[in-house]
């Protein structure tokens, strides 16, 4: 069972990356030069990282396998955008999620 859930996570990452790559090439026709933060990607990254790392917070409502799978899909969508895009959003999403994890688990 454990192996199957990890296979689901990996497939979720692959599908999310592919979707992110395809959609970002449609959205951005130019290479990464202006270095702006994409608000939609930022929201997806924050939701994704929070779901993946802090899945225990809502484990009473939804199974962690589902939240982690959705989280990894959203993370991969932002991380897998065309080269350059999505990296600031990923770092911010991870930082916010890590802060929530430290606040709820360690403190």
């Amino acid at each position: 069972m454990n192996n199957i859930s990890y296979l689901i996570y990996i497939i979720s990452f692959v599908v999310g990356s592919t979707a992110g790559l395809v959609l970002s090439y449609k959205k951005y026709t130019a290479p990464f030069v202006t270095k702006n933060i994409d608000v939609v990607a930022l929201i997806l990254a924050i939701i994704g990282w929070v779901l993946a790392i802090n899945s225990e917070l809502i484990s009473a409502l939804v199974s962690p396998v589902i939240t982690i799978t959705v989280g990894i899909f959203l993370i991969a969508m932002v991380l897998g955008m065309r080269p350059g895009y999505g990296r600031y959003e990923t770092v911010i999403g991870f930082a916010i999620s890590a802060l929530i994890w430290v606040g709820t688990v360690l403190i």
Partner: protein
């Protein structure tokens, strides 16, 4: 779980993770070299792409060996997954599989009839002279633990702690061996860009897809063996973190070092093997 399901599951995981780790390596190398680099899933997409491309066969190819060699490479690494994560069998079998991998590199190059393949074929034999001694790490593990069974090694480490601390030079030897199998590695003389793609140069379409798939599984398996043999009983997330960390370190080495010429590559590997074997036995005797 049913044995066949378990095998299938582990092979798919090995292929996907191996491909993603290769993609991660290329990304890290690109960032170190100041380039944006391809997406992490590029290597996986590249592999899958070859399965839907037209296969062409060179006029000079030695049939049916030219085709059979790709099937053989796939089979040996699937066998490695069965011996390793599925059954926890003997390290000697993994050594045997690695030795066959070197033979496959040799024969894939020679069977194509291409001059680049033939140069790679010669280099495969040449590099085997250095990589097989590096695999002598197994002897050191046996002298330390008294077993070569992977399950027994995990149990040994559960009691005595990770072998990484007990035989660090052996771990270094195995790390050099893994580094040798990485694309763009200073020791990757069989696939050096001076000979285009080495033994893979004349394998197109479906055949190249199988070669790339097997290499991804091989990469996963080498990292899995290292983590299992030197760190002992670890959970799946620790395996994943360990593989990402090792691939990142190797990417850093690859990005900052040139491809060595065959003579220097072999001599450096042999030096590591010599220091590792002599040093490890010295440490065991103290």
């Amino acid at each position: 779980m049913n044995l066949m399901t378990n095998i299938l599951l582990n092979v798919i995981i090995a292929f996907l993770i191996g491909s993603l780790l290769f993609g991660l390596q290329r990304k890290i190398m690109a960032r170190i070299q100041g380039r944006p680099g391809p997406p992490i899933i590029q290597h996986l997409l590249h592999t899958l792409k070859f399965f839907i491309k037209e296969s062409a066969f060179p006029y000079t190819a030695a049939m049916p060996f030219y085709i059979a060699i790709t099937a053989m490479l796939s089979m040996i690494w699937v066998a490695a997954v069965i011996v390793g994560p599925v059954t926890g069998g003997s390290l000697l079998l993994i050594f045997g599989i690695y030795a066959v991998h070197k033979i496959v590199e040799h024969n894939a190059g020679s069977s194509s009839g291409s001059p680049y393949g033939k140069l790679s074929c010669v280099r495969a034999v040449y590099s085997a002279a250095a990589e097989v001694p590096l695999f002598a790490v197994l002897v050191i593990i046996y002298f330390k633990t008294g077993t070569m069974n992977i399950t027994s090694l995990i149990n040994y480490q559960a009691v005595h702690g990770p072998l990484l601390y007990a035989i660090p030079l052996a771990a270094l030897m195995f790390f050099i061996l893994i580094l040798s199998k990485a694309p763009y590695s200073p020791f990757a003389i069989t696939k050096g860009k001076d000979i285009v793609s080495g033994y893979e140069t004349e394998h197109f379409g479906l055949l190249r897809g199988y070669l790339m798939m097997s290499e991804s599984i091989a990469w996963y398996m080498l990292l899995w063996v290292f983590l299992t043999v030197f760190l002992g009983p670890i959970s799946i997330p620790v395996y994943l973190i360990g593989m990402v960390v090792m691939s990142s370190i190797i990417a850093f080495i690859n990005a900052t070092t040139p491809l060595l010429n065959p003579n220097h590559s072999i001599m450096m590997q042999v030096t590591f093997a010599f220091v590792g074997i002599v040093g490890s036995f010295a440490l065991l005797m103290i």
